[in-house]
Amino acid sequence: MRDLMLRAPGSRFAIHAAVTVAIWAVLTWLNGSIEPQLSYYLALAAMYATAMFGMTILVGLSGQVSLGNGALMAVGGYVFALTSMKWSTVPIIGVPWNAVWSMVFAGLGGVIAGVLIGALGARLRGPYLAGLTLGIAVGIPTIVNRFPALLGGDEGLKLIVPYPEGGYPEAISQQEAAEQVPADDAFLDEFLVEELPADSATSAPADSGDLLTPEEAVSGVESGDLLTPEEAVSGVPTDAPTDAATDTALVVDVPADGVDAAAAVGSDFVLQQWQASVAIAVACIVGFLAINLVSGRQGRVWQAVRDDPVAAAVVGIAPAGAKVSAFVVSSLFAALAGAVLAQILTFVGAGAFGLGLSLSLLVGVVLGGRMSLAGAAIGAVLLVWLPELVDTVSGDRGWPDQITNNAPNLLYGLLVVVVVLLAPGGIMGAVSGGWARVRPQRARETR
C-alpha cells in the first residue's frame, strides 16, 4: 500500500506538501502561544534551519565541505537590506516594493554567488574546497569595508523593514537594542543574537508583553500574516506575480480583512512573533523545496557523484554540473536565511556574517546529521538551545562569565569531533540507525 502511494505520480509531492503544511501549522501555533523571547529563539532556529537545509545538500549529499555559506548569507542579508531600503518606493509589476520582493532579490543574489563559487569550487577536491571556502568566509565580509558609503562599512546597515501597521515603535526599540550590542569579534557570532533578547526584554514588555493572551496572539498571527501555505509558497519567485496582492498584505497592511484583523495587528503586534512567522514561513518553503529535491532524482544524482564521480559519469550524469547545482541550491537557501537573519537583527554587518557563522552552520549540520534534512532541523534547534542550556547550568553552578560564554563553543568543537569519530550520521543517523535495528525492513524502504 505504502509502495503504491509512493509510486503514484505526484503523490510524493502531495505527501511532502501535506507534511510541510502540518509542520508550518504547528510552528505557527507554537509561535503564537509562547513568550516573545521564545519566539525570538524560534525565529533563530528557523533561520538556521533554512541555511542548514542547504548545508545538508552541499556537505552531506554532495560531499563538498564548504565554509562559505556564512558569506553567502551575507550576500542575501545585504541584498535584502539594500533593496528594501533603497527601492522601497519602486513598484514592480504594479506592486509596491516590500519585503517579499527583497527576499526574491536576495535569493537571486544567492543564486548568482552560488554559480560563481560553484564554478570554481566544484572542480576541487575536499581539502582544497574547504580551504577556498574558508578564504571566502574570511575574505568576502571584508568587502563591506571597500564600499562604506553603500554597505555601511564596519558599522553595518540598519534595516527599515516594512512591518505591519503599529509595529514601528517596537521595531525602533529593537534597533536601539541592536546598537547597544557591543560589536565584539567573539567566536561563534551568536553574541549578536544571544544578547538581543535580554536587551529587548527590558524595552519590549511595556509595549507588548502585557497585552498578549495566547488566543489573541494566534489570531493576530493567522489573520495578519495571511499565510496559507499556498501563498507562502508564492513567496518563491515563480509564483510571485499571481499572488502578489496577498503578498503585499503579508507584510504591509490588512485592510481587506476587516476591523478585527487590523486591530489585532495594530495593538498586539509583537516584533519577535512577526519575525518568527517570517522565519518559519521561509524555512517551510525552503524545507519543502529541499525535501522534493533530495528525495527525487536530483538527490540521487548528488549522492552518486559524491560516492563515485567516474561511475556517475558512466551512467550519464555530468559530475561537475551536479556539484555546481548543489552549490547553487545551497547558496539560494543561505541567501534566503541571510535575508531572514537581517530581519531578525534588523541590522546587517560584517561581524554578523563572519567565519563564526559559517562554522556554526557546519557544526549544526554535522551534529544533527549531515545526510538528512531532519538532521539539519535538529542541528538548528541545537545551535539555539545549547547555549541556553549551558547558561542555565552555569547559572546554577555560579560559573564565571569567561567559562559560561565559551562553554558552548567548546562543547560544539568536542561534539563535532566525537560525532565524526563515533556517529558520522549525527543525531539523525544514530536515531535512524537504532530504528533500523528495531525495524530493519521498514528502515530500508524509507531510506
Partner: protein, 292 residues
C-alpha cells in the same frame, strides 16, 4: 620608491611567519594527507602557553621553548585522539574534525586566557632601524624573525633529508605500503609529522604574536594566508611552502601598504581562487587537486 622598498622589506618578516605556518600545513599533509585547519588554533594555543611562561618567568626564550614543547604535545594529542581514529571515516570527516578541533581550541583558550587581545613581548626592539638618517620599515625584530625562520628551515631540511627519521617520514609519505614492508613504522611517522608540524606552528605563533595581538581568533586570518601559500606551493612541497609563504607575505605587505590592511584577506582569496582555477596542483606538485 622609498615607500615601495619599505613595504617590501616589511613584508619579508610577515612572509617568514606565513612560510612557517604553511610549512606546518605541508608537514601534516605529507604525513597524513589531511589539511590541518586546526593549525592556527594550535599555534594560538601554544602562544598563549608561551605568553603565560613569559609572564611568570620574564624570559622570552623560556616562553619560546615551552611553547615549542606544548606544540609537540598538542600535535601528538590531536594525532592520537582525533586524526588517527578519523582515518576510518569518510574524507569529509577528517576535514570536519580539524574544524572541530579548531573550534574547541579557540573556546578553550578563551576560557583560560579570556577573549581580550594580549600583547606578546619581543626579544629585540620593534621599531624601525635608521639607515643614513632615514627610518626604514624593517625593524630588528623583523630581522630576528627572518633569521629564526631561516635557521628553522635549515634544521628541518637537515632532519628531513639527512637523518633516518626524515628518510622514514619521506618514505611513508611517498608510499606507505612499501615503507611498511621495508620496516618503517608508518603510524609513528604520521605521529612524527604531527609533532614536528606542531613545533613549527608553535614557533610561527610566538614569532607573529607580537606583531598581531594575541587573542583566540587573531590568527584566523593567517590560516587563509598559510593555506594560500601552501596550496600555491603545491601543498606537498616544503620549498614551495617557504617560497610562496614569503611571496604571499610580500604581496600582502604591498597591498596593506598601498591600500588598507583589511584588503589582505580579499587579496589572498583572489590569489587562492586564481591559483585553484588555473593551476590547482600548485607550482611544485604533481598530485591532482581536481577530481572532476
Amino acid at each position: 620608491m622609498d615607500t615601495f622598498v619599505n613595504f617590501f622589506l616589511g613584508g619579508f618578516a610577515n612572509g617568514a611567519v606565513i612560510a612557517l605556518m604553511a610549512l606546518a600545513l605541508v608537514l601534516v599533509w605529507r604525513s597524513s594527507r589531511v589539511v590541518n585547519f586546526a593549525q592556527v588554533g594550535q599555534a594560538m594555543f601554544t602562544s598563549f602557553v608561551g605568553l603565560t611562561v613569559v609572564d611568570l618567568t620574564g624570559s622570552w626564550i623560556l616562553g619560546l621553548v615551552i611553547a615549542i614543547a606544548a606544540g609537540a604535545v598538542l600535535g601528538l594529542i590531536i594525532h592520537f585522539l582525533v586524526m588517527r581514529p578519523v582515518r576510518r571515516a569518510d574524507s569529509s570527516g577528517a576535514i570536519i574534525a580539524t574544524f572541530g578541533v579548531l573550534i574547541a581550541l579557540q573556546a578553550l583558550a578563551a576560557m583560560i586566557w579570556g577573549g581580550d587581545p594580549r600583547a606578546y613581548p619581543t626579544p629585540v626592539s620593534y621599531s624601525g632601524i635608521t639607515v643614513f638618517g632615514r627610518v626604514i620599515a624593517i625593524t630588528p625584530y623583523d630581522i630576528f624573525v627572518i633569521v629564526a625562520m631561516v635557521i628553522l628551515v635549515l634544521i628541518l631540511t637537515i632532519v628531513l633529508t639527512r637523518t633516518k627519521l626524515g628518510l622514514s617520514m619521506r618514505a611513508s609519505a611517498f608510499n606507505p605500503e612499501v615503507a611498511r614492508l621495508s620496516g618503517v613504522r608508518v603510524s609513528r611517522m604520521l605521529a612524527a609529522g604531527w609533532i614536528i608540524a606542531g613545533m613549527v606552528g608553535a614557533v610561527a605563533g610566538v614569532l607573529v604574536a607580537p606583531t598581531a595581538t594575541l587573542s583566540p581568533n587573531s590568527f584566523d586570518i593567517f590560516l587563509v594566508f598559510a593555506f594560500t601559500a601552501a596550496v600555491i606551493g603545491g601543498l606537498d612541497s616544503l620549498v614551495g611552502a617557504v617560497t610562496f609563504g614569503i611571496g604571499t607575505g610580500l604581496l600582502l605587505s604591498l597591498v596593506t601598504g598601498y591600500s588598507d590592511a583589511s584588503n589582505a584577506a580579499l587579496v589572498a582569496l583572489i590569489l587562492l581562487a586564481l591559483n585553484l582555477w588555473f593551476k590547482p596542483e600548485g607550482a611544485f606538485n604533481h598530485h591532482k587537486a581536481r577530481s572532476v
